[in-house]
């Protein structure tokens, strides 16, 4: 009893009061493309990027663009650039409701903000139940999705929960590149969910499959049939990215 009280006292309050205002010190988040001109003919960052997230149009005045749907935020591009053009900020609000909105360049310096959906807000604004399916996820995304419910991020306070049965779920949280051996099970889970329902693609694997692109063991047909409502980038995404994306999507105050 006394031990229990002691633990309770040292535990204190651990929740993040306003996730939107949190400051994850040191986090390698949103890529920042500097204004410096690229050295002519330089492909260093394009070559260094392990997931081909960076592309270069040598004809354009601003040649570099970074696709956050493919980027694993590894930072391998940063030290290699001869003109120090690339850096990363600790900005974690990088989710998007639109796939194209994740492509950063000079005119789009941050992903397009998550659009509040009036329809989703009306249906799920006070209660959103999510079912997670890992289809080749490496357990990093899964651990971060799990962290949403811990005492720090505590999404339960916004009426958002991860549930055990697809029958109880409004949204499918998809992690992993979708392996061929999981494709059927993923479809069954989706079929078992009652409408209206939505797909949330979490992590570079789910959004673009880039970390495992080119493998014959991956089968992404599910995403041709069902378009995600929300894209949560990262490898794995920071839980703050995910929490804030959900709050923004449903128009929930924090």
């Amino acid at each position: 009893m006394f031990k229990s009280i002691k633990v309770r006292i040292s535990q204190g309050s651990q929740f993040i009061p306003d996730p939107r205002r949190a400051n994850p010190t040191g986090f390698r988040g949103k890529p920042v493309i500097g204004a410096e001109a690229c050295e002519s003919g330089c492909q260093a960052c394009v070559t260094a990027c392990p997931t081909q997230a960076i592309s270069q149009d040598t004809q354009a005045r601003e040649p570099i663009q970074i696709d956050l749907g493919r980027c694993v935020l590894c930072g391998d591009c940063e030290p290699i650039c001869p003109s120090n053009k690339l850096s990363f900020s600790s900005d974690f609000r990088i989710a998007c409701t639109d796939r194209v909105g994740l492509v950063l360049n000079r005119s789009r310096t941050a992903p397009d903000p998550v659009r509040v959906s009036a329809a989703l807000r009306q249906r799920f604004g006070r209660s959103l139940k999510l079912r997670s399916v890992s289809a080749g996820g490496c357990n990093a995304c899964e651990l971060e999705v799990n962290a949403l419910s811990n005492v720090n991020f505590d999404i339960g306070r916004y009426g958002i929960d991860l549930v055990a049965s697809p029958r109880h779920a409004d949204g499918l949280v998809l992690t992993g590149p979708i392996t061929r051996n999981m494709a059927d099970a993923l479809q069954s889970c989706w079929d078992a969910m009652p409408a209206p329902k939505l797909v949330i693609a979490v992590g570079a694997c789910a959004i673009s499959g880039s970390p495992f692109e080119g493998s014959s063991a991956v089968e992404r047909g599910f995403l041709d049939r069902f378009k995600p409502t929300l894209y949560v980038p990262g490898c794995p995404p920071h839980p703050l990215t995910f929490v804030c994306a959900l709050l923004d999507l449903l128009g929930i105050q924090s």
């Binding site: 031990k3 229990s4 002691k6 633990v7 040292s10 535990q11 651990q14 994850p24 010190t25 040191g26 986090f27 390698r28 070559t47 260094a48 990027c49 392990p50 997931t51 694993v72 935020l73 590894c74 930072g75 391998d76 990363f88 399916v133 890992s134 289809a135 080749g136 996820g137 490496c138 357990n139 990093a140 995304c141 899964e142 651990l143 999705v145 799990n146 962290a147 811990n150 005492v151 720090n152 991860l162 055990a164 992993g176 392996t179 061929r180 051996n181 999981m182 099970a185 889970c189 694997c205 970390p211 495992f212 080119g214 493998s215 014959s216 063991a217 991956v218 490898c235 794995p236 920071h238």
Partner: protein, 499 residues
């Protein structure tokens, strides 16, 4: 002769190439003499042949490589019938190369790899027959946020007679992919093989490339990598403890271990930008050192952590409800653990004293040894307790390195060491086996180069491959209701198994 290194290399055309039967015979003799099979695998050699490789470890730690060449349609007498510790290796060898271990008691694909087109339907589950015997199937999708896999219980009433595990759902074709991509940008892929062990994987990968290119990394780099790995171990043991506490409805444990893990992975993020240590280790060194400010920051974090950790451990270990739920549940005896070749924490919890940081210490652990901790009872309680002690030991070890001022951890004024050096071309015709002790056990990577210095084979082996069978044994004669805590107490990797 220096300390045993966690990397071993061999020039492939100087290795003795045995016939298949001779090879199998040699492996059998060595196992009989007390050596352990660290890994055993094969690769295609041209269209019709297979090169098979076994790496064995003697009790004093030294590694030996045995090689054979055979026709892919060849077969051999399965070693599994005498030495169950190689049962998964033989299954994998059969799935990946076609060599058939005749007499293997349960020859099924490990992961239903894409190119062999094997289907799960073609391989039914083990069947227990008898009156009132029933089967319970769970998965691949489970009730919580967890990777997929199928568990098939054969029960009589409440009693589980047998549990069969069927995996492969996570198979992403990692090994094939690692051969397709540019050599020096493999790190991020390697970090995602089993994403909860990113640092163990990255280190073993980097060490292999460094050995193959004759690149010497600095002691500063070694120390930073060592700290990174222990932080990962602490974080993941805490993740398991959180899950265990939650699974037995010991809510204070769940809440407290959960937030303690947050403190550790946030500290990792302050050091390298990622809560999972992604992008920290790279071939040739580390991308981030630990400067004085970060050193002090980490020391403060660890001091606060240790105090709170001791408190919650005390509460958990003295609680009668925890004791009665975990003691004597899911036992794997010392004999069984040794017979089936368990590795890592699962082996140590059954009293098998193996840890690559002790048996293959290399320069780092030779200068800064870690205690090899074991438990005797082999039950869920032992696996839980051992995690607590390993966390303590790791924190103690990291604190010691941070607290010693003349041990540089950065490329600042006190140190001549470079944190990151360039990797040159790889030795040609060379096989390199690289091992690091992750939080589950040894992560093994075997890289082989051709005559032109390009990789011809990249073999990855997670400790989970052999350890999953420990869970099967732990469940014998238990009840299905014990399964969640047994599974959590092992906390093995699905994608590490499936690759």
């Amino acid at each position: 002769m220096g300390p045993n290194k966690p990397v071993v290399m061999a020039v492939t055309n100087e290795l003795t190439i045995m016939g298949l039967d001779d090879w199998v015979g040699q492996i059998g003799l060595r196992i009989a003499a007390g050596e352990r099979v660290l890994t055993l695998f094969g690769r295609a050699d041209g269209n019709n042949h297979v090169i098979a490789t076994a790496v064995l470890q003697a009790t004093h730690g030294r590694l030996a490589i045995l090689r054979a060449r055979a026709l892919r349609t060849d077969s051999f007498d399965a070693l599994t019938t005498r030495y169950p510790s190689v049962q998964m290796f033989e299954r994998e060898l059969w799935e990946q190369t076609g060599l058939t271990p005749v007499g293997h008691p349960w020859l099924k694909p490990v992961r239903y790899e894409a190119d062999r087109q094997q289907t799960m339907h073609a391989h039914p589950f083990f069947s227990v027959r008898g009156e009132e015997i029933h089967e319970v199937g769970v998965g691949p999708i489970h009730a919580s946020v967890i990777e997929p896999g199928h568990f098939r219980f054969m029960c009589h009433g409440e009693q589980v007679h047998h549990l069969e595990l069927q995996f492969g759902y996570q198979h992403r074709g990692v090994e094939a992919l690692l051969l397709k991509r540019p050599l020096l940008s493999l790190s991020s892929t390697v970090e995602s093989i089993a994403g909860d062990s990113s640092i163990a994987y990255a280190w073993s990968h980097c060490a292999a490339l460094e050995a193959l290119s004759d690149t010497q990394v600095s002691m500063t780099t070694e120390r930073v990598r060592g700290i990174a790995l222990e932080l990962e171990r602490v974080a993941m043991h805490l993740s398991t403890l959180t899950g265990l506490a939650t699974d037995i409805a010991f809510l204070q444990g769940g809440a407290t271990y959960g937030r303690l893990r947050t403190a550790i992975i946030n500290a990792t993020m302050r050091l390298c930008g990622s809560r999972f240590g992604r992008g920290w280790l790279r071939p040739g060194g580390v991308r981030f050192g630990i400067d004085t400010k970060r050193r002090n920051d980490l020391l403060v974090t660890l001091a606060d952590f240790s105090r709170d950790m001791a408190e919650i451990n005390d509460l958990m270990l003295t609680s009668h409800s925890v004791q009665s739920r975990l003691k004597g549940i899911g036992t794997v005896s010392h004999q069984a653990a040794a017979d089936i070749g368990l590795v890592g924490l699962s082996a140590r919890a059954s009293g098998v004293a193996i840890d690559m940081r002790s048996s293959l210490p290399g320069r780092l652990y030779e200068s800064h040894p870690l205690a090899l901790l074991t438990e005797e009872t082999g039950d869920c309680w032992a696996r839980m307790q051992l995690r607590m002690w390993e966390v303590e030991e790791s924190v103690h070890w990291v604190t010691h390195l941070l607290d010693t001022p003349d041990l540089p951890l950065d490329d600042g004024e006190d140190s001549d060491d470079d944190l990151l050096t360039a990797i040159g071309p790889l030795w040609h015709d060379t096989l390199c086996i690289s091992i690091r002790e992750g939080f589950r056990g040894p992560v093994v990577q075997a890289l082989e180069t051709r005559a032109d210095g390009q990789l011809v084979h990249y073999k990855v082996q997670d400790p989970s491959l052999v350890n999953w069978f420990g869970l099967t044994l732990a469940m014998r004669d238990s009840e299905i209701s014990d399964f969640p805590i047994c599974n959590k107490s092992f906390d093995l990797s699905y994608c590490g198994n499936d690759l």
